[in-house]
Amino acid sequence: MKHHTVLRIVTKLIIPLILLFGLYIQFHGDYSAGGGFQAGVIIASGFILYNIIFGLEVGFSILSINMTKNLMAIGVLLYIAVGFMGIIQGLNFLEYNSLLSSSKEGQLLGIFLVELGVGLTVSNVMILIFYSFNNMGEKL
């Protein structure tokens, strides 16, 4: 769709808004609807829209397939690492109290980190799935 000027310009205008909305959903999930999963899906949608309009090659140059694999692994690792923090300090798995001196702050930080891990994994998995569906024949 490289010749549709209107589409290209509108997309360029919309995408920052989509990403911003995704980030809002991610980081404001404690106070209103949303959280890591929804944010991940929305951010991935924004990126996929960009890919649809400007072509996969441009998308690859921003975020390569290997990068998506790494990022989704790191998201899962982040979640499990937060869980293991509890075990290291002699508490239970996923016990966030251990993260900071104050229990409530620790819970908040734990939820924040966990949601970040979810968001990272979900957005990258969605992008990876989109790549896989549309890039057959080339090396994944």
């Binding site: 609807a33 999963f37 799935i129 569906f133 057959m136």
Partner: protein, 107 residues
């Protein structure tokens, strides 16, 4: 009575999966099937006169947040299943030349 409508949806979904031969329609049937169960969970979570479970000072009755959490997880499972199924469909088309289950001939 709402549950009866809900179960109608449940059965329609099930019957699309069982009866249709086209694999994409089967996957859509699976989505309908799963959605009906999601609606069931959310139906029982509603509290009369309640509001969404975001705590604020001027509210005292909230709908039950636990089924919401469960369904969030179930939705994730459902999208994972869907994407896996669609990937398999692309390969099936590649290998057998058709996505009609009845037409696939294993010889």
């Amino acid at each position: 009575m709402l549950y009866v409508l809900n179960m109608t949806l449940f059965l329609i979904g099930l019957f699309i999966i069982v009866r249709e031969s086209n694999l994409i329609k089967k996957v859509i049937g699976l989505n309908i099937f799963q959605s009906s169960v999601f609606i069931f969970y959310i139906l029982i979570s509603k509290v009369e006169g309640g509001v969404p479970p975001i705590i604020s000072a001027d509210q005292s009755i909230y709908s039950n947040p636990l089924p919401h959490v469960l369904i969030l997880t179930a939705i994730v499972v459902s999208i994972a299943t869907t994407s896996l199924a669609l990937a398999l469909i692309i390969r099936i088309k590649d290998k057998y030349g058709t996505i009609e289950e009845d037409d696939i001939d294993l010889g």
